[in-house]
C-alpha cells in the first residue's frame, strides 16, 4: 500500500506538468485545467494495474488527458446548448451559462490579447485538428508520440497537421476581416 502511494507520488511528480499544460492549452482556463489534472491522476491511479505497456507511460497519460479534455469540452457545449434553450423559455431571457473566460498562466500579460485571439481561432478548428495542432506546435511532441497518443498513423497525423495549419490561417483571415484590423 505504502509502496504504491510512493510510486504514485513519483509518477505524479514526473507527469503533472505535461498533463496540466496540455489541459491548459486545450481549455485555456486555469481552474478547468486543474480539474482535468485531478481527474486524470485519479484515473491513472485506478487503472495503472491495467496498463499493458504497449505504448510508453507518457503517451498513455497523454491519451487519458486528451480524452478527459474532449469529454469536458463536449459537456461544456451541452451545458451551453441547454442554457440557450432554457433562456428561450424564461422571461429574463439572458443566458446564464458562464463560458469560462480565458485564463492561461503561461501567457504573459503583454501577449494576452494576441494569444486570446489565436486560441479563439484554434478553438474553431475541428477537434482532431485542434488536438494535433496543440500537440505539435505548443507541446512540441514528435510525430510518433502524437500518433501513439491519438492512436493514428504518422501519415494521418502529418496530413491532419497540414489541414489544421491551413484552416487556422483561414480562421485568422476571417478574424482579420471581421475585426477590421488594419
Amino acid at each position: 500500500m505504502q509502496e504504491q502511494s510512493y510510486n504514485f507520488e513519483e509518477l505524479y511528480n514526473s507527469h503533472v506538468s505535461l498533463v496540466y499544460n496540455l489541459a491548459l492549452n486545450y481549455l485555456q482556463n486555469k481552474e478547468e485545467a486543474e480539474e482535468i489534472t485531478q481527474d486524470v491522476f485519479m484515473q491513472v491511479y485506478q487503472s495503472i494495474s491495467g496498463f499493458k505497456q504497449q505504448s510508453s507511460l507518457k503517451t498513455w497519460i497523454y491519451r487519458i488527458t486528451l480524452n478527459k479534455c474532449h469529454d469536458h469540452v463536449k459537456a461544456k457545449q451541452t451545458k451551453k446548448r441547454r442554457a440557450f434553450i432554457s433562456s428561450l423559455f424564461h422571461e429574463d431571457g439572458g443566458i446564464k451559462h458562464d463560458p469560462g473566460h480565458f485564463d492561461h498562466p503561461g501567457v504573459l500579460l503583454e501577449n494576452k490579447e494576441r494569444s486570446e485571439l489565436l486560441f479563439s481561432a484554434i478553438n474553431k478548428l475541428p477537434e482532431n485538428q485542434k488536438t494535433v495542432f496543440i500537440l505539435s506546435q505548443i507541446e512540441q511532441l514528435s510525430q510518433k508520440e502524437m500518433a501513439d497518443s491519438m492512436e493514428m498513423s504518422q501519415k494521418a497525423i502529418e496530413s491532419l497537421l497540414q489541414r489544421a495549419k491551413g484552416n487556422l490561417r483561414n480562421q485568422l483571415g476571417q478574424l482579420y476581416k471581421n475585426e477590421g484590423f488594419k
Partner: protein
C-alpha cells in the same frame, strides 16, 4: 498591417506560450479524494448503476402486474357480456317493438 503579415504575427504567439505550474496542493487534494473513495468503497460508481437496474426491474414488474390484472378483468367482462347476450337471445329479448 496587411492581412498576411497580421496572420504571421498572430501565429507567432504560439511560440510565446510558456509552461505553467499547477497548484502545489493538487497532489494532496488528489490523495484525499482517493482515500475518500477507498473509505466509501467503489459505491460512487456502482450504486447508481445498480439502483437504476433495480428501478427498471420494479417498473417492469408493476407494468406486468397491471397488464395481467387488466387482461383478467377484460376477459371477465367479456364472459359476462357474452352470457347476457346469450340469455337475452334465448329469451327473445333482442327484438324491439314499436307500440
Amino acid at each position: 498591417m496587411k492581412k498576411e503579415e497580421w496572420i504571421e504575427y498572430m501565429s507567432g504567439a504560439v511560440s510565446e506560450i510558456g509552461r505553467a505550474e499547477p497548484n502545489p496542493y493538487l497532489f494532496t487534494r488528489i490523495t484525499e479524494l482517493l482515500n475518500q473513495k477507498k473509505v466509501t468503497g467503489q459505491s460512487a460508481v456502482k450504486k447508481p448503476f445498480l439502483l437504476r437496474w433495480a428501478l427498471a426491474g420494479c417498473v417492469a414488474l408493476i407494468l406486468n402486474i397491471f397488464v395481467i390484472s387488466f387482461m383478467a378483468n377484460h376477459k371477465k367482462q367479456e364472459i359476462q357480456k357474452f352470457n347476457l347476450e346469450a340469455l337475452s337471445a334465448e329469451m327473445g329479448l333482442n327484438e324491439t317493438y314499436n307500440y
